[in-house]
């Protein structure tokens, strides 16, 4: 290892090494290291972890994947919100984030809207679940939402599962591998909101149960390897149990 780019090692094994990093831990020092990820900052010439994260060291490259934390809205994200408040021309949504989502009538209805004649409650009422997309967000104002688009709008049936937002990428998997595997194995429709709310739509309630359990396992074990295969086995085993019960 080069002296001016020394990586702080805990247990040096193979080329790639993973461990759980906690806030305050110095992950690397110097100029010769490349450090990527959300849960890390550079203070002086030291890279310091700020959130409990999964740290992957590969040669001179370090990736820090946070395991905890709130959801920060990002333009283009599809999220699942709950109507919390209704104004004259906009809905306020709880989007499981430090900031409230704002959905203006113009982004929900196609025709003209007259607040004197119409009441917004007719379209979305308080407590309704809505699949929406974030149009814009920049921390100085609350995120602006839209329900115009394919698959967006009020949720009328299904089960909502809540998970911790940093685990969402793991539920989707690399290029959607995890979520498409679950969909393929169960034949159910699943919508993953980037804010950690997941809609599961199944014709068979037992299948929905299996998916909910599987999602909870992914959330708990998001930092482990070989998860997709384990989840596939879990679903297949449980599916068989269901079929046996049917036969008996």
């Amino acid at each position: 290892m080069k002296s001016d780019g020394d990586i702080v090692m805990e247990q040096h094994t193979a080329n790639t090494r993973r461990y759980i990093g906690v806030p305050g831990e110095i992950v690397a020092e110097g100029e010769n290291v490349r450090v990527y990820g959300q849960g890390v900052v550079k203070i002086g010439d030291k890279y310091v972890i700020t959130v409990t994260s999964l740290v992957e060291v590969h040669n001179n490259t370090i990736t820090v994947i946070p395991l905890e934390g709130p959801y920060m809205p990002k333009a283009g994200d599809v999220i699942i919100g709950i109507i919390e408040d209704i104004g004259l021309t906009a809905w306020i949504l709880d989007i499981k984030s430090p900031y409230k989502g704002v959905l203006h009538v113009g982004e929900a209805l196609s025709g003209p809207f007259n607040p004197l004649k119409n009441n917004l409650r007719r379209y979305f009422d308080i407590g309704d679940y809505v699949i929406a997309k974030i149009l814009d967000f920049d921390k100085t104002k609350d995120p602006v939402l839209t329900v115009r688009g394919k698959g967006l709008g009020k949720i009328t049936r299904g089960i909502i599962v809540e998970v911790s937002p940093p685990k969402v990428p793991r539920i989707i998997g690399k290029k959607g591998s995890m979520i498409s595997m679950i969909k393929g194995e169960t034949g159910c429709n699943i919508v993953v909101g980037m804010n950690g709310r997941i809609l599961v739509n199944c014709s068979d309630p037992r299948m929905a149960n299996i998916i909910v359990k599987a999602i909870k396992i992914i959330e708990r074990e998001s930092h482990t390897t070989g998860l997709t295969d384990r989840i596939r086995m879990f679903i297949q085993e449980n599916k068989e149990v269901c079929l046996h019960e049917l036969g008996g």
Binding site: I20, V22, P23, G24, E25, I26, G39, V41, I43, V48, T50, V51, T52, P66, L67, E68, G69, P70, P98, Y99, K100, K139, T140, S164, P166, I217, R220, E221, H223, T224, R230, M233, F234
Partner: protein, 248 residues
């Protein structure tokens, strides 16, 4: 008080009333994720001192005027339960509790990246369940664990300990009895990775030499507590790895 009926705090062998040596900490227990409703929580037990901390947020500020346009506000409440002391303590916040809430808040503000979440608030609640000396230190230790558990970006964990002077001897981690009869009591808190002191108070008299010795002694204790904190945070994920082996 005459010298005859004075409590012997340190015997001729250098043992303290609870059997510890001058540089020994009390037995410590830490746990995170102890409360379901909080975004992050921690429980810290240090001898007879038992403290629980809960963190909510970052979330919307109410009342609105408390929000900052460029960073998150931090609100902190240090509170002693009415049953925490031998004589019932009035549940209303006392002068002392208001002061401790302030110094603890300022210590935590020095490590939290508040500028990441403008217009929000981070609420920290520290509840002393049982008081046996060093409650502000245990509270601070617990609060920083709870912040880490909530996934709020922090520069470092904060570990805290009280150093006292009894019969001319500097002792680490004083308990209630020692606190009542000691010549000096100095609670201190640090961000250990940066070797920064974030809280330092002194009750009583210490000479300049004693002060620097006391700080050195405190640092030793803090490093031990810091190691325990890191272990506690990592344990959450190690446990779930083990659980995964049972499931599959």
């Amino acid at each position: 008080m005459s010298s005859e009926d004075k409590i012997v705090l340190i015997d001729e062998k250098g043992r303290r009333i609870d059997g510890r040596g001058p540089e020994d900490l009390r037995p410590i227990r830490m746990e995170i994720d102890v409360l379901k409703n909080a975004d992050g929580s921690a429980y810290v037990e240090q001898g007879g001192t038992k403290v629980i901390a809960a963190v909510y947020g970052p979330r919307e500020v109410h009342p609105r005027h408390l929000a900052f346009p460029d960073r998150a506000a931090i609100r902190c409440r240090y509170h002693m339960a009415p049953f925490s002391t031998s004589e019932r303590k009035s549940p209303a916040p006392s002068r002392r509790e208001i002061e401790l809430s302030k110094v603890i808040r300022e210590a935590l503000e020095s490590v939290v990246f508040t500028q990441l979440y403008p217009r929000t608030v981070i609420d920290i609640f520290i509840e002393v369940l049982q008081a046996d000396g060093g409650t502000r230190c245990a509270g601070l230790t617990a609060a920083s664990l709870a912040l880490a558990d909530a996934g709020i970006p922090i520069r470092d964990l904060i570990a805290a300990v009280a150093v006292g002077k009894i019969d001319g001897v500097l002792v680490l981690d004083i308990n209630e009895t020692e606190d009542e009869h000691c010549e000096a009591d100095m609670p201190m808190a640090m961000a250990p990775s940066f070797n920064e002191i974030v809280l330092l108070q002194l009750n009583g008299v210490l000479s300049p030499e004693e002060t620097s010795k006391a700080i050195e002694l405190g640092k030793k204790g803090i490093m031990k507590i810091y190691e325990l904190q890191k272990e506690t945070l990592k344990k959450k994920y190690e446990l779930s790895t083990r659980r995964s082996q049972v499931v599959t």
